[in-house]
């Protein structure tokens, strides 16, 4: 897969991998053994018809390949780009034993990009309307997928989005160079053309409560994401140029601060930037800081490369772009001047100890190893917590001690009949594809619920 040269790309926000040519895609597709039963599909939460769409590419029927993918997944251009295929479909590919697995993600991306460029679209479903109305809270990958599946089943669906633009994390979180926004817009538009309504600037829990929506809709899907940023809770963390990754990325991606002053939202461009954490979000923040003009960007992580939660590809991209990695390092305080500007950050060296409950080895401070790192900007990318706004407006919907909704593993049903939940708000920050998987499962569960006569409107009012 050809990519933009690292020296050039750190000065622009254009996409890094350039995508297959027609010939390249056909060549890769021809390597597929068309196993029966296919192993790859087992690794895909969206149950994409992988061998079938790859066969269509071999036959040069690219529109057919796209339609085959759409049967189970309405966000192929996104999935092709941001799914961790190396841990899912491609991990299960039998060709691993003989060298390299099929590059399924990039083939999916090729089919979707080809269709977008050629203007190939899915027809709105010709199914009889069933007269039931479903509210979906949040227009991220879980919400969009669930909505698309439900309209195809004949239900009327309205998505409520808190921000001014659809897409959730795909819009505010993932940067342009990894997922161009025109692609998100195109796939959202495709879902709207199927008949899904989207209301933006509508904060469920504020504009209307979940309880109020329950009086207007037959079923509700809560897919509001895990919105609240975590901080390290160390001294100096409220200095001027300490950002949460959420703030930094939202300014750059949703508000287009990287185009300031053409767009009005400003963003700080640090000279020496430390990004705390080593997940995909940390890589996104570090690579964004670099593109905004930072001279030196470092990833500071308390464990080692082996434990880093980011995709190997993303770590490799960051390294190619000369982002420095300080493994086994933990910030202990951030120091600043009287105006609140950061002067430096004090860190301590760590070593790996016994495994914790997640199985990852705990990191333990090495006594007396404190040192000072010269930085003028710090970005916390250490994860998110549940934002309570939606949950507290939903009577009878149980949450666990972290504020995530408690759901049935199979159906994603919450403790209140007719209300379902999925995506990051049931498990914490995870992947786009697991959210898509939830969206699909919930669509089936809601269809079952409504088809068997269920409706929130029939419930006695929760007081």
């Amino acid at each position: 897969m050809p990519e933009q040269d690292p020296k050039k790309r750190i000065r622009n926000f254009d996409e890094v991998p350039l995508g297959y040519t027609k010939e390249g895609a056909i060549y890769e597709a021809q390597r597929c053994l068309q196993c029966d039963p296919p192993q790859c599909v087992r690794g895909c939460p969206a149950e994409v018809h992988i061998p079938q769409f790859i066969l269509k590419i071999v036959e040069e029927d690219f529109a057919g390949a796209y339609m085959e993918i759409l049967k189970t997944n309405n966000l192929p251009a996104m999935c092709g780009r941001v799914c961790p295929q190396e841990e899912q479909c491609q991990k299960a590919c039998v060709l691993n034993k003989m060298g390299k697995p099929i590059n399924i993600g990039n083939l999916e991306r090729f089919a979707a990009d080809w269709a977008r460029e050629q203007g190939v679209q899915e027809e709105p479903p010709k199914i009889k309307k069933k007269g039931k109305r479903v509210a979906v809270v949040g227009s991220g990958p879980a919400g969009l997928t669930c909505a698309a599946n439900l309209v195809k089943m004949g239900h009327e669906v309205t998505i409520f989005e808190a921000l001014q633009k659809e897409g959730g994390v795909l819009t505010y979180g993932i940067p342009e160079f990894r997922l161009p926004k025109k692609i998100v817009e195109h796939e959202v538009d495709g879902i709207k053309e199927l008949g899904v309504k989207v209301v933006t600037n509508f904060v469920v829990g504020i504009t209307k409560s979940v309880d109020e929506l329950a009086e207007e809709f037959d079923a509700i899907f809560l897919a509001n994401g895990a919105g609240a940023p975590k901080f390290m809770l160390i001294p100096g963390e409220n200095l001027n140029d300490v950002y949460s990754a959420n703030e930094f990325l939202t300014r750059s991606n949703l508000m287009k601060a990287y185009k300031f002053p053409e767009f009005d939202t400003p963003i700080k461009v640090g000279k020496r930037v430390a990004v705390i954490g080593a997940g995909n979000v940390a890589m996104d923040a570090a690579r964004t800081a670099l593109r905004l003009g930072a001279e030196e960007v470092r990833i500071v992580y308390r464990r080692t490369r082996k434990e880093a939660p980011a995709r190997a590809d993303e770590v490799a991209h960051a390294e190619e772009e000369c982002i420095a990695f300080d493994f086994l390092t933990l910030p202990v305080r951030i120091l600043g001047d009287e105006k609140g500007n950061i002067t430096c950050m004090e860190c301590i060296k760590m070593r790996l100890g016994e495994p914790d409950e997640s199985g990852r080895r705990r990191s333990v401070p090495v006594k007396g190893s404190n040192f000072v790192m010269k930085v003028d900007m710090v970005i916390d990318a250490i994860g998110t917590d549940a934002n309570p706004i939606v949950a507290r407006s939903a009577t009878g919907v149980r949450t666990n001690k972290w504020g995530y909704f408690v759901v049935d593993e199979e159906t994603c049903a919450t403790s209140r009949e007719g209300i379902f939940a999925g995506g990051d708000i049931i498990r914490g920050t995870a992947t786009v594809i697991s959210a898509i998987g939830d969206g699909k499962r919930v669509a089936k569960a809601i269809d079952n619920y409504l088809s068997s006569g269920g409706s929130l409107k029939k419930q006695k009012k929760f007081k």
């Binding site: 209301v199 600037n201 940023p229 409220n238 001027n240």
Partner: protein, 288 residues
């Protein structure tokens, strides 16, 4: 019905310049008006390329489905907003955000409004009086022309005191000096609300501290989403980090880390200046 496009219109119904560069807008926003309470705010965007800025809800009319906002032109976004006309629609409007003021019958209370803070303290003052409090209100501005909403404030409070920094109207002096006078004379004041520019709120807290009167301030932090997602608006209150958007906007002013808050307000000062200057230059070219 909002699904048919009621929401998303956000049409400006009336626009009045109530003082030089201070504008009052009445906006059609039924879903916000339906839920708005004193002390809450909205976030708006003027256009697609705009910034999301928070503004306090100065008033609301549930029957007509309208809200009022009052703002002073201080930068590009407020300048653009001031150039919008009746009938124009805002690109984005969301609310009511933040927690409402804790309105109760406390007995005697004082509300203080400085500059456009007068508009913010207005619905709180009215609600406090309706709840049975004896409300002494102090409003002030730099000069006579900038004293806004005097008549509304007089109606909303038990007693109204007006002051100007330059002495061009009623009396000379800061609102904080008047506040000191009031607290010296009235021994039974239970609570003070002080809303205005950050230095004024800090000064008001310094005045009330020796009197041991709880003082509520409404923090005008820099925000992006306004729903607890980004943490741009974080502030230290009583040693703990709080988000102004979801934990506030009102806090006990005696517990606020003012130097930190004031530093964070100036985070984007150079960019804000550049934005405003570029905008003014462009407007000048258009008009010239």
């Amino acid at each position: 019905m909002y699904l048919m496009g009621g929401i998303g219109l956000n049409r400006i119904i009336t626009k009045r310049e109530i003082a030089p560069d201070i504008i009052s807008l009445e906006i059609d926003a039924p879903l916000i008006a339906r839920k708005a309470k004193p002390g809450q705010f909205i976030i708006l965007m003027v256009d697609r390329k705009g910034e999301r800025i928070p503004l306090t809800i100065a008033d609301y009319n549930r029957e007509k489905g309208r809200i009022h906002i009052v703002f002073q032109v201080v930068g590009k976004t407020t300048a653009q907003l001031s150039q919008m006309k009746e009938g124009d629609e805002l690109f984005s409007l969301v609310g009511p955000l933040g927690n409402p003021s804790k309105v109760d019958n406390y007995g005697a209370v004082v509300t203080v409004g400085g500059g456009t803070g007068i508009a913010c303290v207005y619905p709180i003052t009215r609600a406090l009086k309706e709840a049975g409090n004896k409300v002494t209100t102090i409003i002030g501005a730099k000069t006579k022309d900038l004293v806004i909403m005097e008549n509304e404030m007089r109606k909303a409070s038990t007693a109204l005191l007006v002051t100007t920094d330059d002495g061009s109207y009623v009396r000379k002096g800061f609102v904080t000096e008047v506040l000191d006078d009031v607290l010296r004379k009235e021994k039974n004041v239970k609570k003070v609300w002080a809303i205005g520019p950050a230095p004024m709120m800090k000064a008001a807290c310094d005045i009330t501290k020796p009197y041991k009167v709880e003082t509520i301030v409404s923090l005008n932090a820099i925000m992006v989403d306004g729903t607890g997602m980004c943490g741009s608006c974080r502030v230290t209150v009583g040693g703990e980090t709080k988000f102004v958007c979801v934990d506030g906007p009102e806090f006990n002013g005696h517990l606020v880390d003012w130097p930190e808050f004031i530093n964070r307000l100036a985070r984007y000062a150079p960019q804000e200046k550049l934005s405003f200057e570029t905008h003014r230059k462009l407007c000048g070219e258009k008009n010239g």
